[in-house]
Symmetry: D3
Subunit: 173 residues, 6 copies
């Protein structure tokens, strides 16, 4: 796997032939974040909003987006997703005025190709929905970094992201 696999002999993109790949259980975990200001953090976490909270909407959006991955990413194979779960956590450092919503998506399938793109797409759309619902308060929110945390199953085997510096910043998961 040392070259791009998505190109045909004419040098053009193709959907890679996976007819010979086995159906196995495959899991992928992706993570992203939305960094918000203090006002948004407080409105999202206070108990005034019990039912229709922002995260309930964002999480539905993320799950529905996982199912649309092959419709969004041109060379992605369609896949029958078997399970999608999205978890939220807050990473707050008051002294730095850092209010960061962490979004972790786990996607599972039994098929002939992995679900990395489904997990990354669900995480991205979940974060975009948080942005959409809070943007009347502040348009300066930042989405991501977004990355794959782990994947299992398939010929390429297990992948576990190392904690490392990427592009000048530290992912403080």
């Amino acid at each position: 796997m040392s070259s791009f696999t998505h190109f045909n002999e004419q040098g053009r993109a193709k959907m890679v032939d996976i007819t010979d790949k086995e159906d196995t259980v495959r899991i992928a975990v992706a993570q992203t974040s939305v960094t918000v200001n203090k006002e948004i953090y407080e409105k999202m976490t206070n108990h005034a909003i019990e039912k229709g909270d922002v995260l309930a909407v964002a999480q539905v959006a993320g799950i529905m987006a996982a199912k649309k991955t092959a419709d969004l990413i041109p060379m992605c194979h369609p896949l029958m997703l078997k399970g999608v779960d999205i978890q939220f956590a807050w990473h707050v450092e008051e002294e730095k005025a850092l209010y960061q919503l962490l979004i972790t998506v786990t996607v599972k399938t039994k098929g002939s190709t992995g679900v990395e793109m489904e997990a990354l797409t669900a995480a991205s759309v979940c974060a975009l929905t948080v942005y959409d619902m809070c943007k009347a308060l502040d348009k300066g929110m930042v989405i991501g970094p977004t990355y794959l945390v782990e994947k299992t199953g398939g010929k390429s085997g297990h992948y576990q992201r190392e904690k490392r510096s990427a592009g000048g910043f530290i992912n403080e998961q």
Copy 2:
């Protein structure tokens, strides 16, 4: 605009009523990046691949995603997009082994609500497509940070992102 506008009196999400908002020209610019390793950077930029390059596919994916925004983001209003343009640039610092593809999306409409979400969605899907087409080489790529750079038009007026530190990293645009 000092509170969440997306909730009804039952505390549940709704699509905000914009019937009374005027049709004006509105522009939004969003930016994201994909941080890749040296191998991917070199394969993407060398001249062996002339026709079917990764960016050609990613850019089509981004433009098509802009048109799907209201289908992905639950409370987004459908909008008739009038123009979408995606530009790429490389930010490389060899000494830091930093190879960062910058993706800048400009979306334009003439309508009663802004196109921030369309620009952010296009940028995200464009980056996800780069990830998809290079992931056989390295799964450690990082997408984002993703943010709004600028918007014009509409009642809330002009927004210009200040260069600032967000969540512990510097956006070196």
Copy 3:
């Protein structure tokens, strides 16, 4: 308007030409219900589930479905929805063991055709989602009757449903 308008001179369906119809504000209100058993009623309304309640998911599904109406109903014109709101209420008669979730959808646009189908579609998909999320407890739930309650705007003017008996049952709104 005394004949079917959706057929051409060959006797086949067409999308009716509305080029000459004016852009006006149009509102439609539709209603449906899901009749559930006591167990489901109690689980849906007790306070053990604070955040991720069934109705939060159903209401997002309904709003997203409103935006897909023209993609679902063959002869429906595409429309730029300006606002969608979904309200829930319980109609309970313990002595009759009747537990009925009422779903009321209001859709608003400014366009050249009405939004009756958008309101009815949103109500239907909202109810289907309630069914989906509760069907592990009981598959005997009943959706509907589903009907238009009111519409305003457009050449055909105001429509207000009269309370009446339809098909052997009484709509006890």
Copy 4:
């Protein structure tokens, strides 16, 4: 199966993990109705319209909607449908001025989860399309009640709806 299965430990909705469920043949039958007035009944059933009848359009819409179920219902798993059939019948009681179009949908798959939602969704969209194509004549039509008639296959086994009173009305099929 005595509790909601669609929620994770954070109390939020998830797409339930069905990786361990077996692929078996699964069938679901759903039914709904559209109650119309005499004028619509007569126009729909007279022989003046031979080719492009309302039901031909409604039935195509229902079948296409069955394939969109996972795109409409947030926690639904995508499924490869193996067959969809829609049948129509009229239930007319002239003395009560009751003109009721019965819509029965049968959906079949070979997969790891049932097709109840696909059958119910197809029935709903089929009925909505009848409403759309006749609404110029009368907006007072009533859709439903809509319910599952039968399902076979899968761990939860056979389900057969009993003829019963639900929510204060009798289903007179």
Copy 5:
């Protein structure tokens, strides 16, 4: 308009900016055909099949496809279609064993760009659906040639296709 308009200064595709174009009534007419064998011709035209004929399904598919054009054609602007009509005719020359179903699609909008692509897409999907429904009888059917017959409205004005020889064959409309 003497160069490709769909490319930006980086030489990459973009969705052309049409913000300054006026909203006018625009009409496009496209035509295609499906050439079938005698057996299919006879089954499609005999009177044994009164209700659910092939053309009823194909025509619904064509109209629905017109509404999906911007989702299929990457650089197409989304448009609010105001009317779609599909007409069928048979061109039969028994002595040449030529059985050709002609499909003519007329699309109308009031907007800032034309509907040529919508008419061509509807015609193509209508023809593909005929192929799908008859392919169990013969896989040798031929779709097209497909072309624009006429367009009106917009800055580029009126276009009327001349009857001519294109690519070695005569379009005998």
Copy 6:
């Protein structure tokens, strides 16, 4: 297979039941063409446009359309595509002023029904995209003829199109 299989006993269209059909590897090859004028031919093939060429966009559109086939063609079964490849060639006869872009699509799956419709749909949308991107130069382009070249796999076995005259023209592949 000597009659239409897409109709139920009411004479209406249905999605044929394929529950009993085996999962086998299935391949289909379809071909279409776009006949353009000399100016377009020269602009498409000259080396001024290196990166964002028309064919790169058209080919992404074609691959994405293959995945949407069941959403476009009413009675098509959803399928998990395993590979899609699109190849381009020019058929030029200067003396006849014939400039014809040939588009050949190969689709592969492992499933219980064939992929003829996916190959034909991808070819059609690929050609429509070429038309869209060149139509500012000339609206007289002709798409097709479009046909199935070959299919393998499944009960109906191997199909290979004979070179023949169809509908008055010769397919000069």
